[in-house]
């Protein structure tokens, strides 16, 4: 048995994933807590007297975050007033169970708790949304609504800051995802430890340099009470690919996670590149780069029985909104008759129903507004991505994605999809007549 690398005289009982050092339990706790404290101090995350809301879902990250914040607040006299802030998305069998964990945390850590629910804020629960939308793109709704819900809940409480349990793995994934999506606007700010300082409530991530594995180890050895089941509506999301890459890179070179964060911090965007300008939503006054914020657009779609309204490129959403509201559509260079016809189809509700997909998403992923559109597990988005919609080519920031899963050829895909809709195999080929161009048998 190796001695502890910190020379405390004890035997090592674990190997730190971040550094590879063999340490004993107490030295691991000390190292973990000290690193979070250093992050807080070096980045001036708080000042004495701050009223801080800890975003708590009951998962491992937020549970450890609440524990650590309380511990360090007392140990180092940060002078903070803490409150737990939870969001009830209304997912039966998942969120109701995890909220019980947060309620126990409230008692265990003696931190007050405030719960905001989607039903109160938006009039819809996630269960109702999924019934309306289906299992495709539902995480777009959840992510966008949850982000706003946190902000709105925090504003109601009149807190100064929100802290979230985003860890180093999350930040690294987000950086790579924003590169893959070509999202220059988010790429610039996603590696910041504090965001939202321009107007909305600032949010910070004390776990920005803390490895997920170490959080799990800390929670395990400290026997903290947390909820570890994945969301029942989780998709095979695009983020899953990047997550797998991060895990594989960590296996080859453990410092790669921190290196990706360091790289992300060193990136910025050239002058002259078109960037969205921040404004406010005309309806709800939430920050938004468009006339209506994403939540309002999604809600409008839900309330009008058009759940696809907010899904897709901003330009197409604008067209669809204009048609619904009877406004004249400004013809831009790239708009074609085909895209206008598509917008009318949506308004006429004559678009074909969505194909079923299977999703999984990690607990604690707040989605933000990253998912203006959302990858599916095959099906329509794959067809769209291969067809390359008319005005898709040079859209700088958003692109279609699709996850073909383990489908090996498009004939197989068509068969599986249409079988799922109870169509006979011979109809598969008839269905392909409608598919333009690329495929032939």
């Amino acid at each position: 048995m190796l001695p502890c690398a910190k020379n405390c005289g004890n035997k090592a009982s674990m190997k730190r994933p971040k550094t590879g050092e063999a340490v004993c339990q107490n030295c691991f706790y000390a190292a973990f807590e000290d690193e979070v404290h250093d992050t807080i101090v070096k980045n001036n995350l708080f000042k004495p007297g701050d009223y801080v809301a800890v975003a708590a879902s009951g998962g491992k990250d937020s549970t450890v975050l609440a524990y650590i914040m309380k511990l360090l607040n007392e140990r180092h006299n940060y002078g903070l007033k803490l409150i737990l802030l939870s969001v009830d998305e209304g997912i039966t069998g998942y969120r109701d169970d995890s909220l019980e964990t947060v309620k126990r945390n409230e008692i265990q850590y003696n931190i007050p708790l405030k719960i905001c629910s989607y039903k109160e804020l938006y009039g819809w629960t996630m269960d109702e949304i999924v019934r309306e939308v289906g299992r495709k793109n539902n995480c777009t709704f959840c992510g966008v609504f949850r982000r706003q819900a946190l902000d709105r809940g925090a504003m109601l409480l009149e807190v100064d800051k929100i802290v979230t349990g985003h860890n180093a793995d999350d930040v690294a994934e987000t950086i790579l995802m924003n590169l893959l999506r070509g999202d220059v606007a988010r790429l610039q700010r996603c590696s910041n430890i504090t965001t939202g300082t321009e107007g909305a409530l600032p949010r910070c991530k004390p776990f920005k340099y803390t490895y997920e594995k170490e959080i799990v180890m800390y929670a395990y050895y400290k026997k903290l009470d947390y909820f570890s089941t994945e969301c029942i509506y989780s998709p095979n999301a695009y983020r899953g690919h990047v997550r797998t890459l991060i895990k594989d890179l960590e296996r080859i070179k453990p410092s790669s996670i921190v290196d990706i964060i360091h790289s992300g911090e060193a990136l910025s965007i050239r002058e002259g590149v078109k960037m969205p300008t921040q404004g406010v939503c005309k309806r709800c006054k939430y920050i938004s780069s468009q006339d209506l914020c994403k939540a309002c657009v999604l809600l409008e779609g839900l309330n009008k029985g058009l759940p696809k309204l907010g899904i897709g490129k901003s330009s197409k959403v604008k067209e669809q909104l204009a048609i619904i509201n009877g406004d004249s559509i400004k013809q831009s260079k790239r708009q074609s008759k085909k895209s206008l016809a598509k917008a009318r189809l949506v308004a006429d509700k004559s678009a074909p129903p969505d194909l079923p997909e299977i999703y999984n998403e990690r607990d604690g992923d707040d989605g933000e507004e990253e998912f203006d559109f959302f990858g599916c597990g095959g099906g329509t988005d794959l067809l769209q991505s291969l067809n390359m919609d008319d005005d898709e080519e040079e859209d700088d920031d958003i692109r279609h994605t699709g996850d073909p899963g383990d489908i090996e050829n498009l004939g197989q895909l068509a068969g599986r999809l249409l079988m799922a809709r109870n169509k006979a195999p011979t109809e598969v080929f008839m269905g392909w007549k409608k598919v333009k161009g690329f495929f032939h048998f």
């Binding site: 690919h241 890179l249 290196d259």
Partner: protein
């Protein structure tokens, strides 16, 4: 893109695709919403490449340059990959564009602007000690094929394509130091390869001190055994394959830089397509080299001494270039391209992992590499102003990799510090002596 439906059996229909340009049914590649047959794809690639080269050769903004000026020397880096084979063939076809049958079929003529470049090809070789087993034999076989290609190129274009070779240990800066410790620019580090070698070589070439001339069979590897041995010892002491591969990549780039400096060649073409750039971006991000991604992803980048590096294949993915190679005659690719396809390599390093990720993601999401290339061109290094103001320069360079550094207090950038952290403590001094201009500077 035209498509027809054809009956292929009872209850079955098929969509037959024809070329977007000429309606030929012999489609070999589909890109965006278009399909191309062989001649059309070749023309398309040649045209786009030539357009990029003209962009590269354009006089700098704000200067009064001549369009019709004496031809400029351009160095083409050749690494044996299909991308580099496509690069040399595209460069050759750029010279003859408008003067051949295919171009004439598209209405272009030999009245196109004369091309302002004279190309040389440089190959960086590895010895048995610093490469894999059997590498010398494979390299020599490849060099023979490359020499045959240069002969073919001379016949097609009436232009010479001198083939220069160097060995990786020649990048060691120690070798180039004068007695007073300053760097020498006159030490020969390349060999010019010809079929005949020294025999039948014009006396004028033999008199040039910077170039040694040899034929492939007489080429001795390594060029300097002592340096090769030092390099091998250093590489063995690196802990992981990731650091080793990154280290080798930096050495090869440095060597190209030194060769260009020695021969006063200010323009270098790199064999990097969209796929390899996407992989490089992810690899560099994973190695902490984010501050250097912007200069490595742009169409052109300028080094400290003014040499301009260009990536003229930035508009093509590796599938596009494979399609292009299929359009060429055997003379253009014989012995240069591995027909059996890519070897399946073990994933034991960050770059292999990123390569595997990008290639697999591209299959499901065809816009992946083009999106990454496009966002790469929009990036710049977001270094803290404090770093640039500290040294009074707008860009501080790492002493080892010569790329932009993100560390104010160190001669090495964050990425290169991994080498020092990774190497055996006994070899750290060795590394400083071999590769840093001022070994006593803090690192």
């Amino acid at each position: 893109m035209e498509s027809e439906t054809a009956k292929v059996g009872v209850g079955r229909v098929a969509t037959v695709i024809s070329c977007s340009e000429c309606d030929s049914k012999d489609v070999i590649i589909k890109k965006a919403r278009k399909a191309y047959c062989r001649p059309c794809w070749k023309y398309h690639c040649d045209f786009r490449f030539r357009k990029r080269l003209f962009e590269f050769g354009r006089p700098a903004k704000g200067t009064i340059g001549e369009v019709f000026r004496p031809a400029e020397q351009v160095l083409i880096c050749y690494d044996g990959s299909p991308t580099s084979v496509a690069l040399i063939n595209l460069a050759l076809n750029a010279l003859v564009f408008g003067n051949n049958q295919e171009s004439a079929a598209y209405g272009t003529s030999s009245n196109n602007l004369p091309f302002p470049f004279k190309f040389s090809i440089v190959v960086i070789l590895e010895s048995e000690l610093n490469g894999s087993p059997g590498v010398e034999g494979r390299q020599k076989k490849h060099l023979h094929s490359l020499l045959s290609w240069t002969k073919h190129a001379e016949k097609c274009s009436d232009c010479q394509f001198p083939l220069l070779a160097s060995c990786v240990e020649m990048s060691v800066k120690e070798y180039h130091k004068e007695g007073d410790g300053s760097m020498s620019n006159k030490t020969p580090i390349v060999v010019k390869l010809t079929e005949e070698g020294v025999a039948n070589c014009p006396q004028s070439q033999l008199d040039e001190p910077e170039i040694q001339i040899s034929n492939v069979d007489n080429l001795g590897l390594p060029f300097n055994e002592s340096l090769d041995h030092h390099l091998m010892e250093l590489r063995k002491s690196l802990k992981g394959k990731t650091e080793d591969k990154d280290f080798l990549t930096v050495l090869k780039l440095n060597l190209v830089h030194q060769i260009a400096e020695q021969f006063k060649i200010s323009k270098i073409l790199l064999p990097e397509d969209q796929t390899s750039l996407a992989v490089k971006m992810f690899t560099m991000m994973s190695l902490g080299r984010g501050s250097q991604v912007a200069e490595e992803m742009s169409f052109t980048s300028t080094s400290e001494n003014g040499s301009v590096y260009a990536r003229p294949l930035i508009d093509f993915s590796d599938d596009d270039l494979r399609g292009y190679l299929e359009t060429l005659n055997n003379e253009c690719t014989d012995g240069l391209v591995n027909k059996s396809g890519k070897r399946k390599l073990k994933i034991d390093s960050v770059d292999r992992q990123c390569d595997d990720f990008i290639v697999n993601l591209q299959k499901g999401y065809p816009a992946t590499v083009s999106t990454l290339t496009r966002i790469g061109s929009k990036l710049q290094s977001g270094l803290d102003d404090a770093i640039s103001s500290d040294v009074g320069n707008s860009k501080r360079r790492c002493q080892f990799c010569n790329r932009q550094s993100d560390c104010a207090s160190d001669v090495l950038c964050y990425g290169c510090q991994h080498f020092l952290n990774d190497v055996h403590p006994d070899k750290k001094g060795h590394f400083r002596n071999l590769f840093l201009c001022n070994p006593t500077a803090k690192s």
